[in-house]
């Protein structure tokens, strides 16, 4: 089942450390909806532009977001492959149990009609 992991251990660590902070989770939430400039993001929090920029840098290092320059603005976008990987772990567990339950259901189905 160790199929196609795109991230090494250190990278996975960085993702979870990045998401341990409420402001950074909020930034990711906003960026999921649409790309945002750093100054736009900075306007939403009661903290300095530099502090928001630092949060964005942490998210960038964990590859949850990318940052690119567009004129005078720095635009933050979601790096969705990374977010999907973390989600994929949970989906894998869910798939495993759904598979088991479907097989249980099939076994119960066989018993029907035999008066079981």
């Amino acid at each position: 089942m160790a199929a196609g992991s795109v991230l090494d251990d250190a990278e996975v660590d960085r993702i979870f450390q990045a998401l341990a902070d409420a402001t950074r989770r909020d930034i990711v939430r906003r960026v999921i909806e649409r790309e945002q400039s750093v100054s736009e993001l900075a306007g939403r929090y009661a903290m300095s532009f530099a502090a928001v920029q630092k949060h964005v840098a942490v998210l960038e290092r964990s590859r949850l977001v990318t940052k690119s320059r567009q004129g005078r603005e720095q635009i933050v976008r979601l790096e969705s492959a990374t977010v999907r990987y973390a989600r994929g772990l949970l989906d894998e567990l869910d798939r495993m149990w759904r598979g088991r339950i479907d097989r249980m259901d099939a076994i119960l189905g066989e018993a029907e009609g035999k008066g079981a």
Binding site: S5, R25, A86, G99
Partner: protein
């Protein structure tokens, strides 16, 4: 589709899946009690589990093996922590040696199964608990994942449709 609901509860690092079967509670219970039935659903298709011991008592245990990646059997086991027929079952599961003793460095995980009679038949609720996300991740075969169980739940919330 028997599954009616599934979700992750990150603070307790647990996973919960609810399903409903059109069968009486005693019949659903047998799926866990009878090793010949367990081995038909436990392993994924192509990786059948063989239960060579299934001592369905407290404190009893099971030993099973599944074909490993190199063709060699991988041994694992269950320990029965609680059996209250036909309503409640609590099992610890993990890698073991041929005698059923815990082996390897991945901690065993626990799951609770609750059975209740409903109009349509039986509702079965499985809650799987993990000591940490690292255990979950390694069980799933992704290698090491340290860190934040809280973050997992957050991602889940973020990506919810």
């Amino acid at each position: 589709m028997p599954v009616t609901e599934s979700n992750i509860d990150s603070p307790s690092a647990s996973y919960r899946i609810v399903s409903e079967f059109a069968a009486p509670i005693e019949r659903v219970w047998q799926l866990w009690e009878d090793p010949r039935q367990v081995e038909r659903w436990w392993g994924p298709p192509g990786y059948p589990a063989r239960f060579i011991r299934h001592d369905f008592t407290v404190p009893g245990s099971s030993i099973y093996h599944m074909p490993g990646p190199d063709g060699e059997p991988t041994y694992a086991g269950w320990t029965f922590l609680e059996i209250e027929a036909p309503h409640r079952l609590r099992i610890a599961n993990g890698f073991a040696d041929e005698t059923g003793a815990p082996a390897g460095d991945i901690p065993w995980n626990r799951f609770d199964i609750a059975f209740e009679t409903i109009e349509a038949g039986t509702r079965m609720t499985i809650t799987a608990r993990f000591d940490d996300t690292a255990t979950l991740e390694r069980m799933l075969g992704y290698g090491m994942l340290e860190g934040m169980t809280a973050a997992l739940g957050q991602i889940d919330a973020l990506l919810a449709p």
